[in-house]
Symmetry: C2
Subunit: 221 residues, 2 copies
């Protein structure tokens, strides 16, 4: 059987603890990235760390990021052949609260991807359009084709940075608590409380034309 394609582990994508929870194969890493749309973008500014929530989308082995809380990192990234901005992009999904009989063994079930690399601004208009479509479709699959595409002025006013997926790893915890054998008789409840994002009833805009149908992809979330 052919071995699945995988990202090469590096010193910084090898966890110091719980290495059995780490994964590097493309399928696992991509599935975790594709399940989300908000990442935490880390970079260094004046020697200090900065972490900002940022919208992202994936196209093949490329991540595209859109600044949501200020354009500092996007300006800092510059366009090739500028050296770019060294970043760490982390995507985390919480799947459950793991309640052990001992406080010590409490944990969280989660899926997480950490990507290290150098990001650059996207300047090519076609690539930027592809990236923005991916960003919108990450938030809500099918939405990009059901909205007005960006015009030249909007594209110019939008900053997108690209980070190639080369140094990437996943970390996953599943299952119940790992209690000490001598604690099993204690009277505390133990187990997992599952958690997942839940989408509520869509709230139409006040200025929505009466009779505008609710698209089917809304209920797909």
């Amino acid at each position: 059987m052919a071995r699945a394609e995988a990202y090469e582990p590096t010193e910084r994508t090898t966890p110091t603890r719980a290495r059995d929870r780490a994964a590097y194969d493309h399928d696992t890493v991509h599935a975790i990235l594709d399940a989300g749309y908000v990442c935490h973008l880390g970079f260094v500014r004046d020697g200090s760390p900065v972490v900002l929530p940022t919208l992202y989308g994936r196209v093949g082995d490329r991540l595209y990021l859109h600044g949501s809380t200020g354009s500092r990192p996007l300006r800092m990234a510059g366009a090739a052949p500028d050296p770019g901005l060294e970043v760490c992009v982390t995507v985390t999904h919480v799947d459950g609260l793991v309640l052990a009989k001992s406080a010590f063994h409490h944990s969280i079930n989660y899926r997480c991807v950490v990507v290290h690399g150098t990001a650059h601004q996207v300047t090519d208009a076609e690539e930027k359009t592809t990236a923005l479509d991916a960003l919108v479709d990450h938030v809500l699959p099918g939405r990009a084709a059901d909205s007005r595409p960006g015009n030249a002025k909007e594209l110019a006013a939008t900053s997108v940075i690209r980070l190639d997926l080369r140094e990437a790893s996943a970390k996953i915890r599943t299952g119940g608590p790992n209690d000490e054998p001598e604690d099993l008789a204690l009277p505390y409840w133990s187990g997992v409380l599952p958690v997942a994002p839940a989408y509520g009833a869509p709230i139409p805009s006040e200025d929505l034309a009466p009779g505008t149908p609710e698209p089917a992809y809304l209920s797909a979330r």
Copy 2:
């Protein structure tokens, strides 16, 4: 009326865009922190940014963090009077997908807190116990008192770092899309799709003693 206590804005807690979304008052910042239990911890290692999902709890004006993916940052922080580890801690809640008629105006409703500062390891046993209780109670309020407390060996094996809340800011987006007037007649649906974490039915441990009652605080989540 007395002015509400607030964190002093600094250059790096003042967003470059959408400043009207920023808030610094303690009530707003604390409420956002208290609504979560997983933060994204950013620090600089060998000159490069690292962002790791990390459990946290708040006690007054102190954040306590527990390494979930490796103890590197906790070792790097050291104990006072070591210089500590410069960190950026970000907590983000996604509240809704904002669907505009134009791709350009798509957005996310969210509440976010960013804290900058220097973290140190907690070495005092009593403070560590308080911190770990806060961590467990952030995940599930009421749980710390309903589990076996950590013993001396477990406390020694647990690393907690403390970050004082001094340089902290919140950023919040609410409401519907801000479409261009000329787009309002377009046939696309626009509005907000609300999202919030939803907790499922508790899954008892396989080794849970039959008849162990399910605690009331489980359904409080």
